[in-house]
Symmetry: C2
DNA sequence: CGCGGCAGTACCGGATGTTAT
DNA sequence: AATAACATCCGGTACTGCCGC
């Protein structure tokens, strides 16, 4: 049933050469004649040979694996699942495996899985014990977005240009007739909030408008969104509203209705991070597609570049979220 | 900076014994005196010794890893993220690593990562090429829910008792005054749909009621949900409604409002799979908590039992979803 | 002579430096 | 000067056997 997996020895015997020749031939290294290489490849193919990863790792101290650390807590957001599979896809294309790392307790100082070639982390803070442990391994680390308080300790980062994206969204709203755009923003503490807050303020100033904003939690409750939106709509004469925190589109829509506004008509509503539910709401809600999958793939590719290349790869790669226009910003 | 990682030799030298003794002592195997063991453990601790996984794997043909295959497509559902971390947590507790497997194209026949001790798959079909490849490895496989068309090829399964859960939900609705409960069901093709459809039919028959149901997609669009709900509400006199497919709570709520019904009052509405958004809708929507995290952990534990135990472990473990009552089924 | 406790050593499967052809 | 064979080593595991009591 299980005739034991073929090894280099088997392939060597089948091809009538030494195991060293096989090793070289399979890795396309110089030192074997084309004919020999050919013969070896054929024999390997025939025997269904697959290198034994542990054996190779033992010798080379490379593991063909990368550790993936998603942020604790907010992990349920579909964004991170997409991100994860972006990493996995890109890794697969390079013959690497992705190890999904556990969220360790803050007082757990045990180092993370030791046998990886590098790490991908996303939306991380150096305050997180798990992230610190990863940075302390001294292995290559690529971060999706900057690591707050640890920017200089990562090998490279892939970051969004939130400022440009938000400006694009604001411009879109004015294109559709908006004259006064309010914003519901996430709390301080991440690069994302900082970028959004600043970009909103600057854009408003440049357009001679008045900034109208409220700050709520990262993952707000319906009530939080509701009161922020109700508050804005009752206190100010706004004709467009951007709600940034994840999951706030549905409650914002409800609050707007309750305030007697017709969304997509006398009130333009846009979310920030695109979510599947936005397409299902009525009206469907305009938002920015962060393309988490591509973002994740970019992280892995940067990591691969860092681990393989001798020359210093780019330290940073920038991605601009794409505007997805839906009925909620149709305009009158 | 990096004084090379300590090996068994280093520990042996420090403790003044042979490497074999160290190997035995560290693995708590018989053959070393308590004092020697003590000395070895102290030395290992002192040197910060960690076993070299590849070296151990090379010798033992065990890898300390499990492959996790999530279903392609519907991966964005938060359910699967929770499930994945359930697996990861349980694996971490056992010193195992979880490799997140890629979704291969249907025509890709390359075998999945070879160096894992077993696989966890969830909501799988034998029609899926990736799943077939996993079953073909001959390695232990534990499935979350049955593998359609491959029940007999998995080592063990963890399954939900959807029938009991749905009956619990239906009983809850009648407790709250419902007399005629309609259902929006997922399409045929999974054990889940089959169980729900059958349980709904049986329960209705037992209670002398009339089954009123519509079938829509697994991951329906808002329009699909909308027409199914509108159709039911206009055609039949129902006072309660269960919508099973994921993501249908929000559109169902909207459709009910549009039909002039007061949800939680003259119409009780419940979803099946609990989702974060249910708590954010108004009224918040009653549903069943599948506790994906615990479900995932259970899968890993069963896999560990299968791989470690010599005796045949349980082939199946059953979990009953927990009812989460919210305002949408408050009753008049 | 039997037995517990430990040292010695042959592997596991590949990568690579060295030596022959 | 190219190729290929040979010998080692990577870091463990597990088997064999020596030693003293």
């Amino acid at each position: 049933m299980t005739p034991r997996k073929p090894t280099l020895h088997d392939v060597a015997a089948a091809a009538g050469v030494s195991i060293a020749a096989v090793s070289f031939a399979l890795r396309d290294k110089a030192g074997v004649s084309p004919e020999t290489r050919e013969r070896v490849l054929a024999a390997a193919q025939e025997l269904n040979y697959v290198v034994n990863a542990p054996a190779r790792s033992l010798r080379t101290a490379r593991y063909g694996t990368v550790g993936l650390q998603l942020p604790p807590g907010s992990t349920r957001l579909p964004y991170y699942t997409d991100f994860a599979f972006g990493v996995v896809d890109a890794a697969d294309a390079r013959g690497l495996s992705v190890i999904l790392l556990p969220h360790r307790a803050a007082d757990d100082t045990t180092p993370p899985t030791a046998f990886v070639d590098g790490y991908v982390v996303v939306d991380a803070t150096a305050e997180d014990a798990g992230i610190r442990a990863i940075l302390d391994t001294g292995r290559p680390v690529v971060s999706g977005e900057h690591v707050l308080g640890g920017e200089d300790r990562v090998s490279a980062s892939v970051v969004y240009d939130h400022a440009t994206a938000l400006r694009g969204l604001l411009d879109h709203l004015t294109d559709r007739g908006a004259t006064r755009v309010a914003a519901v923003l996430p709390p301080d503490g991440t690069a994302w909030s900082r970028d959004l807050t600043r970009a909103y303020a600057e854009w408003t100033a440049e357009h001679g408008g008045i900034a109208v904003s409220r700050t709520i939690s990262f993952v707000p409750t319906a009530d939080e969104v509701d009161s922020a939106v109700a508050d804005i709509l009752s206190a100010e004469e706004v004709d467009a509203l951007i709600v940034a925190p994840s999951g706030s589109a549905a409650p914002a829509l409800a609050a707007a209705h309750r305030a007697g506004r017709r969304v997509g008509d006398d009130l333009l509503l846009a979310a920030y991070v695109d979510e599947p539910v936005h397409a299902l709401l009525s009206p469907a809600v305009t938002s920015l597609d962060l393309d988490a999958r591509a973002f994740g793939s970019a992280c892995l590719e940067l990591l691969a570049a860092v681990t393989e290349a001798d020359g210093p790869a780019d330290r940073e790669r920038v991605i601009v979220p794409r505007l997805v226009v839906r009925d909620s910003t149709a305009g009158a």
